[in-house]
């Protein structure tokens, strides 16, 4: 009996004394008490400088005050693509340091220690998006509620019911991405749910091709050509072609480690191949628009545009298909 009391007392002691870690929905991003003073940190009721009664004109500048390269108020450094408190060998195939793990969404200005070769411009000035018109491979105008693209176009700084405080509505599209226990701060495993593609295709609408056989089906060709299907099972096969299916062993990406692309459950989604913040993957030869690197085909990348791809050249293709 005494042992039980001691164990119970010890459990109670630790549960009360060990402070919980703020999740993405906690801290400054939600979980507000009725008498919170947190509103005044970013908003002014009568003297706001920016829209949404923001105290600042630049949403990006506001976010970077905590999440910039100096990470003055957070451990998530979205400029360099690091989480400053994790050791990760993860799916990146490159060992992070003991104190810096790679952010699963990439980095806006750098990633894995080198300059980004492509990234989303979230400065608030972008008002176009690839595939936001009738056709894939062309740029269409974007009419976001807040004007140009910025951090709050995708993330809700007040917290949300979605994974990584993704907005519940993006560009008039409802987003549902199952939350995970973020108190664990697992920066080694990606937790994208099947609703992830809705987030990207809220702006890149015509890339939301989910038709079976869309790589060969004329039904999707009118929108800009045949297209790789998304939100599809990883083990998908077509026309009895066994090699259409992805390999399940990943691909050796150097250093003896194996790279496996992340899935949403068992589905291929946008983030299986792309990093939403930015990437430092490099393109060369045909992957950079051919021998001249001119990128003359619609949607072709150029030598300086890696189209947010996770891996160099077309390693994302080879990782699954291994031709």
């Amino acid at each position: 009996m005494i042992k039980i009391v001691i164990v119970f007392a010890a459990a109670l002691f630790f549960s009360l004394t060990i402070s919980s870690v703020a999740s993405a929905n906690g801290g400054p991003h939600g979980g507000y008490a009725p008498a919170t003073d947190a509103c005044a940190g970013c908003h002014r009721t009568h003297t706001a400088e920016g829209p949404q009664l923001l105290i600042a004109t630049s949403t990006y500048g506001l976010c970077m005050t905590c999440h910039g390269s100096t990470t003055g108020g957070a451990d998530t450094n979205v400029q360099d693509g690091y989480f400053l408190d994790s050791r990760s060998t993860s799916t990146n195939a490159i060992t992070s340091t003991a104190t810096n793990g790679y952010l699963l969404a990439g980095g806006f200005t750098m990633y894995k220690g080198t300059a980004a070769t492509s990234s989303h411009d979230v400065s608030g000035s972008v008002t176009t998006a690839w595939g936001n018109g009738a056709n894939r491979g062309v740029v269409g105008s974007l009419a976001l509620a807040r004007g140009g693209l910025d951090c709050a176009s995708c993330h809700d700084p007040h917290g949300s019911t979605n994974y990584r405080i993704m907005n519940n509505v993006v560009n008039s599209v409802t987003i549902s991405m199952a939350q995970v226990d973020e108190s664990v701060k697992d920066y080694d495993t990606e937790h994208w749910s099947t609703g992830q593609s809705d987030l990207c295709t809220a702006c890149h609408a015509t890339y939301h091709v989910t038709t079976a056989g869309s790589g060969s089906s004329a039904s999707v060709a009118t929108a800009g050509g045949y297209a790789h299907r998304i939100d599809m099972p990883y083990s998908y096969s077509f026309n009895n072609k066994t090699n259409v299916n992805p390999e399940t062993i990943g691909i050796a990406a150097g250093g003896g480690t194996t790279y496996t692309l992340p899935l949403a459950g068992t589905d291929v989604v946008c983030q299986t191949c792309h990093l939403p913040h930015g990437t430092s993957a490099t393109m060369s030869g045909l992957a950079a628009g051919g021998a001249t690197g001119s990128g003359t085909l619609p949607g072709n990348t150029t030598a300086t545009d890696s189209a947010l791809l996770r891996l160099n050249n077309r390693a994302v293709c080879e990782t699954c298909h291994q031709k």
């Binding site: 003073d37 506001l62 005050t65 810096n100």
Partner: protein, 422 residues
């Protein structure tokens, strides 16, 4: 072959003088006089041209010298070195440009140099002349590339040593006044020099060694000409230093923002070791914990002591300032709520010899000043507002003072150091 007749000059032929004198007509005389006048005029005009040309050349030279004079590097305006017991806000003086996203700022003990850390560009520390604003040099952790460093706060001790915290390196780098690397604080109780000495017990005097977190090791060579070797360094994840402040009494205060371990570390003094190294006298004292309650911090930005040796901690994400007694007991916090003295998102801070506490409010886009000399802090005033004009801020991050009169503010997104004075 005949020789052509030659005209001999009059002086060369004596016979010429014997020729009869020919009389000249008035017309010829007038012509001769006209020719003489013309020659005189021409000679006079040539002289004028020469004079004119000389004047032009002189003007150009003078003009060039004048332009040079106007554009010469000129000392910036003298400022009041010491302002005591003033109750009014300072005024904007001028800005120093040439910095890329400055986030940290410190002044050398003699007030002649500024040290500014940059979050953009090459992410180095820039040395700037406080008199002219001219850049005197740059420095950063040796053998690191730009993606491997993120300097944030900087402080200078009485000896002129420069301490720089680096978020990506999870270390404090120490340099001399010229930016020459001295040593690295790898953890709360570990200096790189001490670790190297433990590995190389016969380390020669001229040995060189640098730390790089991304290589989980140190570069070492016995002398300037010898080969570099990489020495594994045990994982240094015991802390995550962010703020650093060296008090006039020599105390070194470091804020540690490691997840679940937010605290303030207090070193009584960090003396020089052998060679260029530093020597930790003992394990630091510490206070505080992670959280939102009394005595708890969320990303403490900076810590400092007043003239009574009381501690002030800028509790960043809790948007407040926390006061601890000289015996490191929590007393109270302030700067919360509403009103002019309420903080939005405080960042760097500085306390002057008059116990005026200057706190940069990054989101409030101003600097708030509190008088902490008494038993209770008193909000005095704030200065600056949002914008890109003179005296306006665009996410200011840090502040430093020289004496009590000259105030330097790292104005991050305006890419400049603002200078204010009383």
């Amino acid at each position: 072959m005949s020789t052509p007749p030659q005209d001999n000059p009059p002086g060369d032929n004596p016979a010429a003088t014997e020729q009869p004198v020919r009389t000249t007509s008035p017309l010829q005389s007038a012509l001769a006089q006209a020719r003489l006048r013309l020659a005189a005029v021409l000679a006079n005009r040539r002289l004028k041209w020469i004079i004119l040309a000389s004047l032009m050349v002189g003007s150009v030279v003078f003009g060039a010298l004048f332009v040079q004079y106007l554009t010469r590097p000129e000392p910036l305006p003298d400022m009041l070195k010491v302002a005591r017991n003033v109750s009014y806000a300072p005024h904007y003086m001028y800005s120093i440009y040439g910095v890329d996203g400055p986030v940290g700022i410190a002044v050398s003990p003699d007030g002649k140099r500024l040290y500014a850390t940059e979050t953009n560009g090459n992410r180095l520390v820039k040395i700037l002349s406080a008199d002219t604003g001219k850049m005197l040099g740059t420095f950063g952790p040796p053998l690191t590339n730009v993606g491997e460093r993120a300097p944030i706060y900087v402080s200078v001790d009485a000896a002129g040593r420069v301490f720089v915290t680096d978020r990506l390196q999870h270390a404090v780098f120490i340099y001399d006044a010229e930016g020459n690397y001295l040593d690295t604080m790898l953890g709360p109780t570990t200096a790189l020099s001490a670790y190297i000495a433990s590995v190389f017990t016969d380390k020669p005097k001229g040995a060189i060694y640098y730390y790089n977190n991304f290589e989980q090791g140190a570069h070492y060579r016995a002398s300037a000409g010898s080969e570099w070797i990489t020495v594994p360094v045990p994982v240094q994840n015991a802390w995550s230093p962010m703020g650093i402040n060296i008090a006039p009494n020599g105390k070194v205060l470091v804020t540690d923002v490691r997840k679940g371990q937010n605290q303030v570390l207090v070193y009584p003094f960090i003396p020089a070791g052998t060679g260029n190294s530093i020597a930790f006298p003992s394990a630091p004292q510490s206070f505080g914990a992670s959280g939102t309650g009394d005595g708890q911090f969320l990303f403490p930005q900076d810590a400092m002591v007043d003239s009574q040796d009381r501690y002030y901690v800028i509790d960043g994400n809790n948007s407040r300032i926390m006061m601890w007694s000289s015996s490191m007991q929590f007393q109270y916090f302030f700067g919360t709520g509403t009103g002019t003295g309420a903080l939005n998102l405080p960042r760097g801070a500085f306390i002057d010899p008059n116990d005026r506490l200057f706190v940069v409010d990054a989101v409030g886009q101003n600097v708030k000043v509190y008088n902490v000399a008494g038993n209770q802090p008193v909000f005095m005033y704030s200065f600056g507002d949002i914008g890109i004009g003179d005296g306006q801020f665009n996410y200011p991050i840090d502040v430093a003072l020289y004496g009590t009169g000259t105030i330097y503010i790292a104005d991050r997104d305006n890419n400049r150091i603002q200078v204010w004075s009383y």
